[in-house]
């Protein structure tokens, strides 16, 4: 039995990653964990880009898009971690539920 890796497999992996990312964002209360969930979502998009570009017979744009998204994930992590660090200084916690001074 030989296993041929095709486009479907990649799309499955990316869909699973996306679902895991959304699950992490919805259930984790630690801000760092939520950020990890966001990284998962970005990477699932990256897998899609590269897989479509490789198997869809498309141009190299997909690879380039993936590189841009990787750069962007780095920028976003830098900004978000700075903000989380500041939250820790102010609230002494990074639990997103406890960071709630404003209420309806």
């Amino acid at each position: 039995m030989s296993l041929v890796v095709s486009l479907q497999h990649f799309i499955f992996v990316s869909a699973i990653l996306l679902s895991l990312g959304v699950y992490a964002i919805l259930t984790r209360r630690n801000a760092i964990m939520v950020l990890m969930g966001i990284e998962l979502i970005l990477n699932s998009a990256n897998i899609n880009f590269v897989a479509f570009s490789r198997f869809g017979g498309m141009d190299v744009n997909g690879h380039l898009a993936a590189i841009f998204v990787i750069f962007l994930a780095a920028c976003e992590a830098a900004v978000a971690l700075a903000i989380v660090l500041n939250i820790y200084k102010q609230f002494n916690t990074v639990n997103v539920d406890e960071v709630a001074t404003m209420k309806d």
Partner: protein, 495 residues
């Protein structure tokens, strides 16, 4: 290839000037202790960008291998955005929240320049990756601006909520883009349009459209992607709240409008002014209708219970996004130009209202609606101008708000969407209730004996008048604005 780039560069001088302003002001901020130098340099950069923008009118070009469009539509938005940002730079100079942070004051102003660059790119992008990157440039800068007062708990909390919601929605958006890329093989929205018209699976297309709309919906704070709005608006410095509610919302709308017009319109039918010929593969008008009705209704109804003025204005700005979406969903020239008119009107009345809230919070350190009791009697100037802005936000004549709403509703009626127009008018009635509550507190309630009179300096009065006079004049003499808006969308169809 170099020819194309060289050719393109001559049309993006305003953007290039802004980039140079950003880089030089970062260096100036490092060298000089006196941050005034940075502020004046930023103002000079913005003004010279404005001048070069004005000399750039009547261009209709696709640049950088179809990634970037300089056309009347983006020209309109760039003038709008620069006016808003210049207004807000001056506005911030009066803000105690910004001025009290002496060491990082320069930072605030060059972030504003970075934000402007991001919004310029948003209004001109015609490529999905370009759109995504410019949206992120705007968002990343806004996260930092929202948390600018990092010693304050509320501001830090605002930036955390903003970054989490923002990163989540933009992540969903890039996933949607990746699916569209898989289906059409391109990031160029014109090529995507042709691929869609030639037929693609509609379920995957529907999913990816919805995912991309999460990104747009978060930027324009449409329900159900609005959860960040009240907290971020309340926690951020008021000048940042103003930018988010006016400039970055307008940039989001410019990107949304261009995306809708190019991607979901039948490329083979020749569009007429009143009917562009929407592609039937995705129920795009229905999606927009649901978004718009939800947005204005929820915004207006929740605003009724608010006691903090910044929060109240946050919900009111959600409601206004709903009215703006009403203009967008008609998908014809009239609706689009009505949206542009409404945005300009909204700029003056909303910045004016936030300006007064900021000046009062500078003096009495409170945004609570109860602390406005008897304000109209104590300082009639504030009372009268604030009432003018509130009347305009409600949409009553003879103010600019009335003209904005009039054009949106008449576009809906001409498109025979009477029910939506009725829902819009009913929503304005609800909004009257909470705006009048502020008015009642100012004029019909007694102030506490401990309340002091609020005196404004001459500069502050002039700044308020700079927003109040256009709000009044655009309600009476609006022909030039209407013509400008019509001319800006005429490239989409017809003459």
């Amino acid at each position: 290839m170099f020819d194309q780039i060289n050719y393109s560069l001559q049309f993006i001088k305003p953007e290039l000037i802004l980039v140079c302003t950003l880089l030089v002001s970062i260096i100036l901020d490092l060298i000089f202790k006196n941050k005034k130098i940075v502020i004046y340099f930023v103002i000079a950069g913005l003004v010279s960008s404005f001048v070069s923008l004005l000399s750039n009118s009547n261009v209709n070009q696709h640049l950088f291998f179809n990634m970037y469009a300089v056309d009347p539509f983006s020209h309109f938005f760039k003038i709008f955005l620069l006016t808003a940002i210049l207004g807000i730079v001056v506005f911030s100079m009066f803000s105690n929240e910004v001025s009290e942070i002496k060491s990082r004051k320069g930072e605030f102003y060059y972030f504003l320049v970075a934000l402007t660059i991001g919004m310029f790119l948003m209004s001109s992008s015609t490529n999905l990756i370009m759109m995504y990157l410019s949206l992120e440039l705007t968002s990343l800068t806004s996260y930092l601006l929202a948390g600018f007062m990092k010693e304050e708990k509320s501001s830090s909390e605002a930036s955390l909520k903003y970054v989490l919601y923002g990163a989540f929605s933009s992540g969903m958006m890039i996933y949607g883009i990746s699916i569209i890329y898989g289906m059409t093989g391109s990031f160029d929205i014109f090529a995507i349009n042709i691929a869609l018209a030639d037929g693609v699976t509609s379920l995957a297309l529907l999913i990816s459209t919805v995912l991309i709309f999460i990104g747009f919906g978060y930027k324009i704070s449409a329900v159900p992607f609005h959860f960040w709005t009240p907290d971020v608006y309340e926690g951020s410095p008021i000048s940042v709240t103003t930018i988010l509610s006016v400039a970055s919302k307008a940039a989001g709308f410019s990107m949304l409008m261009r995306f809708l017009k190019i991607v979901f319109i039948d490329p083979y039918a020749s569009p007429s002014v009143n009917d562009w010929g929407v592609l039937e593969i995705v129920p795009i008008v229905e999606i927009l209708t649901v978004l718009s009705v939800l947005t204005m209704t929820l915004g207006n109804i929740v605003a009724v219970w608010q006691t903090n003025l910044k929060r109240l204005l946050a919900y009111s700005s959600i409601a206004h996004a709903g009215y703006l979406l009403l203009g967008v969903l008609t998908l014809n020239n009239e609706g689009y130009s009505a949206t542009l008119i409404y945005l300009v009107v909204y700029l003056f009345m909303n910045v004016g209202a936030f300006l007064i809230v900021m000046l009062i919070s500078n003096k009495i350190k409170s945004d609570d609606i109860d602390s406005y009791k008897g304000l109209g009697m104590r300082s009639p100037f504030i009372g009268i101008t604030f009432s003018l802005f509130l009347i305009s936000l409600t949409g009553l004549p003879p103010t600019a708000g009335f003209i904005g709403k009039l054009y949106i509703f008449s576009a809906l009626i001409n498109k025979e969407m009477i029910l939506l127009a009725v829902i819009g008018v009913l929503n304005s009635v609800v909004s009257l209730y909470y705006y009048v509550r502020i008015f009642r507190n100012m004029f019909l309630r007694e102030s506490l004996p401990t309340d002091k009179e609020i005196t404004l300096t001459l500069g502050e009065k002039i700044l308020i008048l700079a927003f109040a006079i256009p709000t009044l004049i655009l309600g009476l003499y609006f022909a030039p604005l209407v013509e400008f808006a019509h001319a800006s969308v005429s490239m989409f169809a017809g003459n």
